[in-house]
C-alpha cells in the first residue's frame, strides 16, 4: 500500500516500531500533493517547510520514546481554524493576508501531540456553502469525478483525506460542513456534540451551531482524533465541562442489543433513487450485525429544519461578521470617508453567498420582522430538539442518509441558493438540536460515494463510533480510493488570484 494511504492507526504502528519515520511519511504525503493537487485544488496553502521541520521534531520525539497516536502523522487543517504564523483566510478576500497571532485550541492540542501540518484546506467562504464553489479563490473538485463538487464547506479537508494529500483533517460543521463533504468523498466525518470540542480560534460563523471535528479514513481514526481534541476549554465558555472517555474503547464489532430508528422524513420526496437503495441495504447490514431496526420512526418537525436553520445561521453570521470593518485586520478599502471605507471594505471583501446571508440575517433581526422570523425560528428549534430527545428515549441511535443525492456537477446549483441549501437538508437539524452525528462510507451509486449518517443523544459519540465501526468492519467501503492517476479528466487549471 502507498504510504500516503495509511490510516492514522496503521501509520502509528509503523512509526512506533520505527519501520517508518515521520519524515518518510510526510515526504510521501507532500509528493502526493505535488502530483494530485493541480487536479483537485484541496489546499489554500501548502506548508511544506513547516511540515518537514515538524516531522523531524516528531521523529526526535519518537526516538525519545514519547509517542502518541497522532505524533508525526500529517494533518490538513481547514482554513477557518487559526494557525499561528500561517495565513488563515476562510477562503475569503477579506482574510487573504490574515496571519493569526495565536493557535486555535484544537491546533494547540495537536501540536502538543506532535503535529505535522501539511497545509490549510480550501472551503466555502466563511464556511457558508455546500459545494466549495463559494471559495473566493478556486473551487475544489471531487476526486471521484473531477467535474463534480466535493461538498462543503469542508470540501478541501474531505478531498485531502480521500486522495492521500493528508492522513486526516480537522474541519468545522455548522449545518453539515464536515458530514456532507465526508459523504461526498467516501471518508468518515464526525460532528461532535455542541460544546464537546473547543471552538477557541475557530473563525466564528454561527455561534450556537458551530462545532469542530475530524475527517478521517476510518472510524478508528475518528476515535483517535476525538481522544486528542475533545474536552473543556476555559477560553470557550460554551465548551462542555464533561468527562472525555477513551473513544477507542467503544470500537466493538457487533451491534447486539441496540435499538436503531430510521426516521422516514429523511427519505424525502425528490431523493435520488440510488441513494435510497444504497441506504436501505446499509441499514439492512446493521440488522445483520445484531441491531433491531425500527423503519417507521417519525420526526414530523424535520421539514421545518431548513427554514429555521437559514434564519438562525444567517442572523448569527450577520452579527459575527460585523467585526470585518477594515480597521483591525483583513482587507481594507481606502475611500472617501470612514463610512465609505467600511461599506466598500465589506462590499469588495465578501463574496456573493456571504453577502446574501448577511442581508438575510439583517432582515430576520430587523424591527418588525424579528418575531416572525428569528424568534419563530428559535421556537421551532425547541420543537426539533424535543423531538430528538423523545426519539432517543426509545432508540440508541437514528440512521439517515447524509445527503439526499450523490455529489452534483460543478455549476449545477451555484446560481440557485435555495437548491444549494437543500443539499444540507439531512444534516442541518442535527446542528439545530446540538446532537452529535457521524457520516460513514455506505456504498456507491453510479461510481459516486453515498454517506450514512448516524445520530445520537448529546455526548453519545461512543455509540456513533461503535455503530460506525461495526458497519465498517463488515463492509469495506471505506477502503476504496479514487483513481486520480488514470482516465479521469483534469479539471480547469484554476489558480489562485
Amino acid at each position: 500500500m502507498n504510504r500516503y494511504n495509511l490510516t492514522i492507526h496503521q501509520a502509528h504502528q509503523l512509526l512506533k516500531k520505527r519501520e517508518l519515520s515521520s519524515l518518510e511519511l510526510t515526504r510521501a504525503v507532500l509528493e502526493r500533493i505535488a502530483r494530485v493537487e493541480k487536479k483537485v485544488h484541496a489546499f489554500v496553502t501548502v506548508t511544506e517547510d513547516e511540515a518537514l521541520h515538524q516531522a523531524a521534531q516528531a521523529d526526535e520525539r519518537i526516538r525519545g520514546g514519547e509517542i502518541t497516536p497522532l505524533t508525526g502523522v500529517p494533518v490538513l487543517i481547514k482554513d477557518n481554524i487559526c494557525t499561528k504564523a500561517v495565513t488563515t483566510t476562510c477562503s475569503s478576500r477579506m482574510l487573504e493576508n490574515f496571519v493569526p497571532p495565536y493557535d486555535a485550541t484544537v491546533v494547540e492540542k495537536l501540536r502538543d501531540a506532535g503535529m505535522v501540518m501539511v497545509g490549510k484546506g480550501n472551503m466555502d467562504e466563511f464556511a457558508m456553502g455546500s459545494s466549495n464553489e463559494h471559495s473566493a479563490f478556486f473551487p475544489t473538485c471531487n476526486p471521484w469525478d473531477l467535474e463534480r463538487v466535493p461538498g462543503g464547506s469542508s470540501g478541501g479537508p474531505a478531498v485531502g483525506v480521500a486522495t492521500g494529500e493528508a492522513v486526516y483533517a480537522i474541519g468545522s460543521d455548522t449545518g453539515g460542513s464536515i458530514r456532507q463533504p465526508a459523504g461526498f468523498c467516501n471518508v468518515v466525518g464526525m460532528k461532535p456534540t455542541y460544546g464537546r470540542v473547543s471552538r477557541y480560534g475557530l473563525v466564528a460563523f454561527a455561534s450556537s451551531l458551530d462545532q469542530v471535528g475530524p475527517l478521517t479514513r476510518d472510524v478508528t481514526d475518528s476515535a483517535l482524533v476525538m481522544n486528542t481534541i475533545a474536552g473543556y476549554d476555559p477560553r470557550d465558555s460554551t465548551s462542555a465541562n464533561y468527562p472525555v472517555p477513551d473513544y477507542t474503547e467503544s470500537l466493538i464489532p457487533d451491534l447486539k442489543g441496540l435499538n436503531l430508528g430510521v426516521p422516514r422524513e429523511y427519505f424525502l420526496e425528490g431523493m435520488q433513487r440510488g441513494v435510497e437503495e444504497t441506504m436501505r441495504s446499509a441499514i439492512a447490514a446493521l440488522e445483520e450485525l445484531g441491531a433491531t431496526v425500527d423503519w417507521e420512526v417519525s420526526l414530523p418537525h424535520t421539514k421545518y429544519g431548513l427554514s429555521a436553520y437559514y434564519i438562525i445561521a444567517p442572523s448569527e453570521a450577520m452579527a459575527n461578521l460585523a467585526r470585518y470593518d477594515g480597521v483591525k485586520y483583513g482587507f481594507s478599502y481606502d475611500g472617501e470617508s470612514m463610512w465609505d471605507d467600511m461599506e466598500k471594505t465589506r462590499g469588495y471583501g465578501f463574496g456573493p453567498e456571504v453577502k446574501r446571508r448577511i442581508i438575510l440575517g439583517t432582515y430576520a433581526l430587523s424591527a418588525g420582522y424579528y418575531d416572525a422570523y428569528y424568534l419563530k425560528a428559535q421556537k421551532v428549534r425547541t420543537l426539533i430538539r424535543r423531538e430528538f430527545e423523545q426519539a432517543f428515549e426509545r432508540y440508541d441511535a437514528l440512521i439517515t442518509p447524509t445527503s439526499p443525492t450523490v455529489p452534483f456537477k460543478i455549476g449545477e446549483k451555484v446560481d440557485d441558493p435555495l437548491q444549494m441549501y437543500l443539499s444540507d437538508v439531512c444534516t442541518l437539524p442535527i446542528n439545530i438540536a446540538g446532537i452529535p452525528g457521524i457520516s460513514i462510507p455506505a456504498g456507491f451509486c453510479d461510481g459516486l460515494p453515498v454517506g450514512m449518517q448516524i445520530l445520537g443523544k448529546p455526548f453519545s459519540e461512543e455509540m456513533l463510533l461503535r455503530i460506525g465501526f461495526a458497519y465498517e468492519q463488515a463492509n469495506g467501503w471505506w477502503e476504496r480510493r479514487p483513481q486520480l492517476e488514470k482516465g479521469s479528466a483534469v479539471a480547469g487549471d484554476l489558480k489562485r488570484g
Binding site: P234, K328, Y329, E343, A377, K379, P417
Partner: protein
C-alpha cells in the same frame, strides 16, 4: 414576502454592506424567493413554546477575574491595515 429595492438598500445600510446595482437587483429577487419558501414555518403552532438560543443548557458563564498574560500589542497590531503610535488608525468619525 416581496422585497423592494428600498428594502434591500435599507438592510445594506443597517449592516454597512456596499452593493452594486446588479447585486441589489439579484438580492431583491433571491431573498424574496427564499423568504417565500420559509413561510412554511408559520404553519407551526409555537404558542407556549420557549425559544432555544443554545442547544445545551447554559446560563451565564463566569470565572474569577485573574490577571493572566495577554498577547503583546505589536502582535495585535501586526494585521492592522493602518496604525499609528500603537493605535488602530481610522478616518474622522465625527465631522464638524
Amino acid at each position: 414576502m416581496k422585497l423592494s429595492r428600498e428594502d434591500v438598500l435599507h438592510l445594506a445600510t443597517l449592516c454597512r454592506l456596499g452593493l452594486s446595482e446588479e447585486e441589489i437587483e439579484r438580492l431583491q429577487e433571491q431573498l424574496s424567493h427564499i423568504l417565500e419558501n420559509f413561510e412554511v414555518m408559520q404553519q407551526v403552532d409555537t404558542s407556549d413554546v420557549p425559544p432555544t438560543a443554545y442547544p445545551i443548557p447554559l446560563e451565564n458563564v463566569v470565572r474569577e477575574d485573574e490577571v493572566a498574560p495577554s498577547l503583546p500589542q505589536s502582535d495585535i497590531l501586526a494585521n492592522a491595515p493602518h496604525q499609528e503610535e500603537g493605535y488602530f488608525r481610522v478616518k474622522v468619525v465625527l465631522e464638524q
